[in-house]
């Protein structure tokens, strides 16, 4: 299983910083995370099931998108983008 790594406030919502998930892609992994941690629904993936514009997802340190392939033991970091105003 891959491991989704969260920081505040997502970690608070999800009840922890690390979450093992099943999924062949980033999108599948994030959808699986929403199933196990319903409080996080809509916070990372919007209604279109795309990663929110100002959220970055990394797989093993590489910037990823919804269709990025995820393998066992991969680390999926979900972080706010360097943006805002």
């Amino acid at each position: 299983m891959a491991l989704v790594m969260l920081r505040a406030p997502l970690a608070d919502l999800a009840g922890g910083r690390e979450h093992p998930v099943d999924g062949a892609t980033v999108k599948e992994a994030l959808v699986a995370l929403e199933r196990t941690c319903p409080n996080i629904s809509g916070w990372v993936l919007d209604e279109r099931r795309t990663i929110r514009t100002h959220v970055n997802v990394y797989v093993n340190g590489e910037l990823a998108r919804e269709e990025t392939v995820v393998g066992d033991s991969d680390r999926i970091h979900v972080l706010p983008a360097i943006s805002g105003g």
């Binding site: 406030p9 916070w43 209604e47 279109r48 929110r52 943006s83 805002g84």
Partner: protein, 356 residues
């Protein structure tokens, strides 16, 4: 004491005080986040706030104590696996039936709650309207920014969307019809000005004492309806109003002939004309308008006041008015606009002002 809820780009500020002796910041919530709108339901005392996280999207939050913990409301989302995402919630308004609350947002969506704002559902009557593919946004987005219930009748609703126009429902939101007759969108070519629903309505308020009367600040005109929104007449053209462009409008609930506007120079320059801040008042249903300036800056003051950033408390001789600017000032009047005082300064850009 009056409580004024100020939604800003960097959080919610709860001001408490009175215009004569001043206001303090009683609480600040959602630090660093854009609070689009906040209100307190007079029926339950519950506070509801629309907060748009730059990162994680827009939501409604609820609390009984704005200085304490807020609870995320459920159901503020568009249909999953669709092709649209909620940008933000622009306004929250109590309904008439017990527990009914409405919220309007971008893209042109209406949400309804029947438990005082804790859980919500998308109003499908408006979302699935067959004209939706023809709707166009204004500069601020496709925003449903105005919700006007009919007093004592939970089935009658009015909403306004930029840049689509006024919508009326007589069956509690199951079905909707547009209602823009008489409003002239001069920003369109002449041959297109008879469009049925490309109207950039900025704000609408209903008279408290005569519900069939409404006043509207339009993108190019101040209008009045005397038939519950079926038709509209221009009540700014040819008067002393310095411009036909502005965002907010409010009324004195006790006077059906009253309205207050804060004009901007125009669409190309959305600041107060002449570097002077003036609230314009009518007490004859728009036949004439007079500026109210005492206590407001009259030199080098180029303010922008957004459509949700003007509100009232009380009525008649006890009418209080409050407005906030994107430059962070909030002004208040305790004598129906005769005189004003700055009740807050140095706040982040103000998105909304609502008395609690």
């Amino acid at each position: 004491m009056t409580e004024v809820l100020v939604g800003t780009k960097k959080g919610l500020f709860v001001l408490e005080g009175d215009v004569g002796s001043g206001f303090d910041v009683k609480a600040r919530a959602f630090p660093g986040q854009a609070v689009e709108y906040a209100m307190r339901d007079p029926r339950s005392g519950r506070y509801l706030a629309s907060v748009t996280s730059w990162f994680y999207g827009g939501r409604i939050w609820a609390t009984d104590d704005p200085a304490g913990e807020w609870q995320e409301a459920e159901g503020i989302a568009l249909p999953e696996e669709g092709d649209q995402s909620l940008a933000r919630i622009w306004v929250i308004e109590p309904g008439v039936a017990d527990g009914d609350v409405y919220a309007g947002g971008d893209p042109g969506c209406l949400f309804e709650s029947h438990d005082g704002g804790l859980t919500w559902s998308l109003n499908r009557g408006l979302w699935d309207h067959p004209t939706r593919p023809e709707w166009n946004p204004g500069a601020g987005g496709l925003c449903l920014h105005t919700i006007v219930p009919w007093p004592d009748d939970p089935d009658r609703l009015m909403v306004a969307i930029s840049a689509v126009g006024v919508w009326l429902s007589d069956d509690r939101g199951a079905t909707w019809r547009y209602s823009n007759a008489g409003i002239v969108p001069e920003y369109l070519p002449e041959e297109a000005q008879d469009a049925e629903f490309q109207h950039c309505v900025h704000n609408v308020r209903r008279s408290g004492s005569r519900p069939e009367r409404l006043f509207m600040q339009f993108h190019g005109g101040v209008y009045r309806s005397d038939d519950a929104g079926a038709t509209w007449i221009d009540v700014g053209d040819g008067t002393d109003l310095p411009s036909d462009f502005g965002f907010p409008i409010v009324v004195d609930p006790a006077d059906a002939d009253s309205a207050f506007v804060i004009p901007h120079i125009g669409a190309e320059d959305r600041t107060t004309p002449g570097g002077a801040v003036r609230v314009w008042e009518t007490r004859d249903a728009g036949a004439s308008w007079s500026p109210r300036t005492e206590g407001l800056p009259q030199q080098n003051a180029y303010l922008t006041v957004l459509r949700e950033a003007f509100d009232t408390a009380g009525e008649g001789s006890g009418l209080e008015l409050y407005f906030g600017a994107t430059s962070g000032e909030v002004f208040g009047s305790g004598d129906a606009g005769a005189s004003w005082a700055q009740i807050a300064d140095h706040l982040p850009p103000v998105h909304s002002v609502r008395t609690a």
